[in-house]
């Protein structure tokens, strides 16, 4: 879902860059309350895992592929703000080192995947998995699916705003493919979280008592 340079017009690029940067700044301010410094190595390692997993495109129907986004995975493990910052780092590395995703489009990609998709996935899990004790695989599956579709819808809106494609075409097209890709996200995310919840439940921030309240 990485938007390359050239798809969006300057106005959309500037607007999403401002919003993306603002959200990242806010996430940074929330980080200290959310993430204990002792968790930094695990966050770094899981971020590296998400980077690797994003390289592994899996085929979905009709000659199209998808790959893990990882926002819901990271948010359920570390909280939404750490997840946002982690994915932002991944996106920057992908754009600068590997040419995956545009440079001018970085703001849009951060906004769609690291911010909107990740937050939507996290909120979905918190709403569905309301009982704070025990990992809720069904909630994780739905949350993962939601994160992908929300990111895709945001991208569709940007494409339409930039004049690349009318909204009435962009929205169903992006939603369709990413509804399928979201199923893959759900399976992979849920499997990983279920495994981690079984071997080391304290890894999941959503299972920690202090996360029982929704972030204010």
């Amino acid at each position: 879902m990485h938007i390359p340079d050239g798809f969006l017009d300057p106005r959309t690029l500037a607007g999403t860059a401002v919003m993306g940067a603002g959200a990242v700044g806010y996430a940074t301010s929330r980080l200290k309350r959310e993430l204990d410094e002792g968790r930094v190595p695990v966050l770094a390692a899981m971020s590296a895992f998400v980077f690797a997993a994003q390289m592994v495109n899996f085929p979905i129907a009709g000659g199209t592929s998808g790959h893990l986004l990882g926002g819901a995975l990271l948010a359920i493990l570390f909280g939404p703000w750490a997840a946002c910052l982690s994915l932002t780092a991944v996106l920057i590395i992908q754009a600068l080192v590997f040419g995956d995703g545009g440079i001018t489009a970085l703001g849009a990609n951060v906004l769609n995947m690291a911010v909107l998709g990740t937050l939507a996935g996290y909120l979905t899990y918190r709403l569905l998995g309301r009982r704070p004790t025990g990992f809720r695989p069904a909630a994780a599956f739905v949350a993962s699916w939601v994160s992908v579709v929300v990111a895709a819808v945001a991208a569709a809106l940007e494409l339409a705003l930039a004049g690349a494609i009318p909204l009435r075409v962009a929205l169903p097209a992006m939603a369709f493919w990413h509804a399928l890709i979201g199923l893959g996200e759900g399976v992979i995310t849920t499997a990983i979280l279920a495994y981690l919840a079984r071997v080391r439940p304290s890894l999941l921030s959503v299972l920690r008592p202090e996360s029982a309240e929704l972030p204010s």
């Binding site: 590296a48 390289m55 085929p59 790959h67 590997f98 440079i103």
Partner: protein, 97 residues
Amino acid sequence: MREQKSGIHWWMLAAAALVALLLAPVASSWPDGLERVAEDHGFIDRAVTLIQAPIPDYVLPGMSGGPATALAGVLGVAVTFAVVWGLTRLALRTTRH
């Protein structure tokens, strides 16, 4: 702190490296959702490359095929690990409530 002492992050990092080494080279080359929409609706050619990325498209320069992708992936894993560790530490130590 228990996690850091237990060293579970090294297992996770190893898993990440394995994914890059073994799975990335055999990943599907079909277009992803956005590329598919761009192709179907005629704006894929709007894409431009503005910078000279060191490892474009996850292929290590001077190499080809699976190993080029695998090594690019492992490099990315290492860079991501280091960058996230460093930046997160920095963010935690320089922000105030």
